[in-house]
Each structure stands twice: as structure tokens, then as C-alpha cells.
């Protein structure tokens, strides 16, 4: 087990899966010669050549469609979005084609496709380069949606996504590429899709959080443990669709109080979905209403002070935990 960065973990996953299966290839903007805008694909062109590491012009609909078409006839493409913001340009390909062709063909054409790249809030990248989009994709039947939090998750979930026969939306994070952690180097290390992880054990409150918000909730949990003696359990869903509701509900039945934290705007967001199934399935176990923490209802501002106000802060999370526990 080596300590490596989230970025390296993704790179190793790509490398191992491309070594394992010649049908797997990487396509996207700047993935080859440039080594990836965020250097996730560094060294892959040198190892696998231009046939399997394919630089594209700027045309997200075009190269996403290339991924879908090649998947229809047996390849296993990985499409890199330089950032997930640009996936919106390819939404027709993703929603109308990738997600539906298996259904529309009566099961004749599985689409084993991974669309991956960074998303969510970043540092001063502003409205069009810094936003959470997982709830859009989660709304679409036929798609799977993954948001890895730790380097270990990044590697194990990306490898499972590549081996999955469905289109998988795999949203990384600019702010996490440098995070270090222990990652198994076994070439068959996999984390199954649809399995949550209890990342921190606790007694008093269940916090559901993923990606960058996990780390902020973790800081808050450590602080309230010291200052208030409140013990927070953190559950990371890891895969948002399909969601491992059982692991989350088991934690709720233990703590009876829930906080759901997400960086995106709250309206029709991930927190709404999570709060809804908890209320439907574990109403009698709750000692307080499910609390949601989410980003302000505005596009991401560029100004640093406003950016800080846009995403939920550690202080806001701490306040929410205290309030939940005083009920």
C-alpha cells in the first residue's frame, strides 16, 4: 500500500485498466501531448501511443458521440471532460444517447462508457468553471454517477467504472487532485459502484457528505467532538446513482439525527433526494427533521470573499450540528 495523490490514483487506474484491456482508450481535450489539463493522464501517451490516447479538438458533443459510437460496437472508451462544466455542451449526447440507447434498443447495445473529469467548486474559477452538477446527471435513468472522495476511492471506483457496462459519469475535483492517501497497488483492487462507506464512526449525528464537502464536514466533526462532545458519524455515498440507501439508513437508525451536506444549490439537489428517502424509510427513527446544508442560490462568484460565502463553511456545518443535537 503506497501513499499517493488522488491524481496519481486516477492515473494508476487508467494505466492498469488500459494495460488489462486493449478495448479501453482515453479520448478528450489535451489528454495526450499536453498530459491532461490537470495532469491526470500524464505519461499515458508515451506508454500507449496515439491509437489509445486520443487528443481531440474542442468539440464536446463530437468526441462524446465518438465515445458512444465506439462503445456501441465493442470498445470501452473513457471520455475526459477537461472540466465537467464543458459536459453541458455534450448534454444531448449524454442524456439522449448514452443513457438511452440500451433501453431504446431493447438491450441490444450496452454503452460501456466512462465520462470523467473534475467538477464542483474550485478556487476562483467563477461561474462557468466552478459548479456542482451531479444532481443533473443523477436525474437521468440509465446513467450511473460517481463522486470519489479519497485517493483510494478514486482508484477503486474508476477501475470499477471502466469495467461497468453502463455509461458512468465520474466527477473528480480540482481541489482534491493533490490530496494524499493510502491506495492499494493491487491491479485488481476495485470498489464496487453503489456501495457507501462509513468514513468516520460516531454516535450522535449522521452526516452524509462526499467529495470536497466530506473534508469540510470532517473538520467540523473533529471540532464539535472537542468543544461539545458531539460524536458525528460520516457516511460517504461515493456513488450517487445507484445510491447505497441501506448503509445510510443503518447509520440513521443508530444516531437518529441527520445532516446532509452538499456544495451545490439546494433546490432539487442531492440533499433533497437523500432527505426524502430517509424520511420515507426511517421517519420513526428520527429525533429531528433531516437538516440540509447546501450552497447559496447563486452562480459561483469570482470574488474570493463571495466565493467563501457561496459554499457551506465549516462554521455553518458546526452550527447545524449543534442545532440538530439541541433538539
Amino acid at each position: 500500500m503506497a501513499v499517493i495523490t488522488y491524481r496519481e490514483a486516477l492515473n494508476h487506474a487508467l494505466r492498469e485498466e488500459m494495460e488489462r484491456d486493449d478495448r479501453v482508450f482515453l479520448v478528450g481535450e489535451e489528454v495526450g501531448v499536453y498530459g491532461g489539463a490537470y495532469k491526470v493522464s500524464q505519461g499515458l501517451l508515451e506508454k500507449f501511443g496515439e491509437r489509445r490516447v486520443v487528443d481531440t479538438p474542442i468539440c464536446e458533443s463530437g468526441f462524446t458521440g465518438v465515445g458512444i459510437g465506439s462503445a456501441m460496437v465493442g470498445l470501452r472508451p473513457i471520455v475526459e471532460m477537461m472540466t465537467f462544466n464543458f459536459a453541458l455542451v455534450a448534454l444531448d449526447q449524454i442524456v439522449n444517447h448514452a443513457a438511452k440507447l440500451f433501453y431504446m434498443s431493447g438491450g441490444q447495445f450496452p454503452i460501456p462508457l466512462v465520462i470523467r473529469g473534475p467538477g464542483g467548486p474550485a478556487h476562483q474559477l467563477a461561474a462557468q468553471h466552478s459548479q456542482s452538477m451531479e444532481s443533473y446527471f443523477c436525474h437521468v435513468p440509465g446513467l450511473k454517477v460517481v463522486r470519489p472522495t479519497s485517493p483510494r476511492d478514486a482508484k477503486g471506483l474508476l477501475k470499477s467504472s471502466i469495467r461497468d457496462d453502463n455509461p458512468v459519469i465520474f466527477i473528480e475535483s480540482e481541489t482534491l487532485y493533490g490530496v494524499k492517501g493510502e491506495v492499494p497497488d493491487d491491479a485488481d483492487f476495485l470498489i464496487p459502484l453503489g456501495v457507501a462507506e462509513v468514513k468516520r464512526e460516531g454516535r450522535d449525528v449522521t452526516a452524509v457528505a462526499y467529495s470536497g464537502m466530506y473534508y469540510r464536514v470532517l473538520e467540523a466533526a473533529e471540532e464539535v467532538e472537542k468543544t461539545d462532545g458531539i460524536s458525528v458519524e460520516i457516511v460517504d455515498p461515493r456513488t450517487l446513482r445507484p445510491m447505497d440507501t441501506e448503509t445510510i439508513l443503518a447509520s440513521v437508525r443508530k444516531t437518529h439525527r441527520v445532516l446532509v451536506a452538499e456544495s451545490g444549490a439546494g433546490f432539487a439537489g442531492m440533499g433533497s433526494e437523500i432527505a426524502s428517502f430517509i424520511t420515507e424509510s426511517a421517519f420513526d427513527d428520527l429525533d429531528a427533521p433531516v437538516t440540509r446544508i447546501f450552497g447559496a442560490n447563486a452562480p459561483m462568484p469570482y470574488a474570493r470573499n463571495l466565493e467563501r460565502l457561496k459554499t457551506p463553511s465549516k462554521e455553518r456545518i458546526i452550527d447545524a450540528i449543534r442545532k440538530l443535537c439541541s433538539v
Binding site: G65, M72, G142
Partner: protein, 216 residues
């Protein structure tokens, strides 16, 4: 199993997918070709241009076949395209472009045949523009098709009917007499009727199919 990759309902949306199929054929070094058929209504779409560019750039074995019937639903081509000579778009993407009489079956066969051979031999794409016409309305809700074009225009175009045109050529060449023509018409009608009967006699899909095949 019959090498048919389905019908797709987003105008222009499946052109990048055709480029992807061509990409896979090249990736696996197979001497195969993908034919992608679309209407003139796809040409103003961005996905047409992105697909043409990628196919031209990467030399993909794709034959883009535009059935130019001069109307995208109710919008005439001169109200939709700055360049109505569609085969000329090929030049912008460094591939051969060829227009043919889309009402002449043999001309279409020759033109597409050349494009397929080119794709097989040099893995290069072609844009074929088959100039044709739609006699009926766009859909059941547009039976008369009279709002956006004249009856005279439709009647004039009907004189180019591709089936009748082929019949005259075969007759002229002494390859088809009246009895053979009648037999052919009956065979085609029987086949269509069989298909309609099959569809009408087939049961409705069972309820469990609603959520089957959402995920592989």
C-alpha cells in the same frame, strides 16, 4: 446482427455516434464502413459540423449521406442554410463531397458505391448529397403540406418519382414487362401488409418491460 445501429430521434444527434463507429473500425483495423443517413435539417446543427470535422481530421471510414429533400419539417432550405449546395460543406472538412440525383436509384447506388470503396481503400470519409423530395407531409399532423410549399411544386416534383422513373428505365431497356412489374408490386404490397399484420397481431409489451434494460 444485421449491422443496423438503430433509428435516432434527435436531428443531427447521431452523427457524432456514426463518427465513433468509424473510429472503432479504424481502432480495430477492420475493413468496415459506416453509412450515416440524415436530412438537410441536420446540416445547420453543430453536431453535423463536429462530426464532419472529426471524420475528416482522423480519416474515419464514414459515408455521410444527406437526403436533401429541401424542407426540414416546414422550413425550406433557403430559409435554413447560408450555403444550400450541401455537398460543398465537404471541402471545409477536407473530404470529397458528391451530389447525386436522389430520385435516380442507380445514380445513388453508383455515388454511394464510390464513397464506400473510398472508405474501404483509403479509410477516408465522403459527404454524399442525394437531392430528393418529400411528396407527403412531414407527419400525420401535416397531411397537406400546403402551408410552406405550393401544390404545383409538389405535383411537379411527383414527375420525378424514383420508383416510376426506375420502372421506365427498366422497360426501356427491355428488362421489365407489365406482368413482371405487376408481380413486383404485389410482392412489395404483400410484404408491407405482412409487416402491418405482424405488428397489429403482436401483443402489447408486458408491464415488466417498463423498467427492463435501463441498465446493462
Amino acid at each position: 446482427s444485421i449491422n443496423f445501429l438503430g433509428g435516432h430521434a434527435i436531428v443531427g444527434g447521431y452523427l457524432p455516434i456514426a463518427a465513433g463507429v468509424g473510429f472503432a473500425f479504424r481502432y480495430e483495423d477492420r475493413a468496415r464502413v459506416i453509412l450515416c443517413v440524415f436530412g438537410d435539417g441536420s446540416v445547420p446543427q453543430g453536431e453535423f459540423h463536429e462530426s464532419m470535422n472529426l471524420a475528416g481530421l482522423w480519416k474515419l471510414p464514414v459515408v455521410f449521406i444527406c437526403e436533401n429533400n429541401r424542407y426540414a419539417m416546414g422550413t425550406a432550405i433557403q430559409r435554413a442554410l447560408a450555403q444550400t449546395d450541401i455537398s460543398k460543406f465537404a471541402a471545409a472538412y477536407a473530404m470529397p463531397g458528391e451530389a447525386c440525383d436522389g430520385m435516380d436509384v442507380l445514380a445513388v447506388r453508383e455515388c454511394v458505391g464510390r464513397a464506400v470503396a473510398r472508405a474501404r481503400e483509403s479509410k477516408a470519409p465522403t459527404l454524399v448529397e442525394a437531392r430528393t423530395y418529400r411528396f407527403r407531409g412531414h407527419s400525420m399532423r401535416d397531411p397537406a403540406a400546403a402551408v410552406y410549399r405550393t401544390k404545383e411544386e409538389v405535383e411537379e416534383e411527383k414527375r420525378r418519382d424514383p420508383i416510376l422513373g426506375l420502372r421506365e428505365r427498366l422497360r426501356g431497356a427491355g428488362a421489365l414487362d407489365e406482368a413482371a412489374w405487376q408481380a413486383l408490386v404485389e410482392r412489395v404490397e404483400a410484404r408491407v401488409n405482412d409487416a402491418v399484420e405482424f405488428a397489429e397481431a403482436s401483443p402489447e409489451p408486458p408491464a415488466e418491460w417498463l423498467t427492463a434494460d435501463v441498465y446493462a
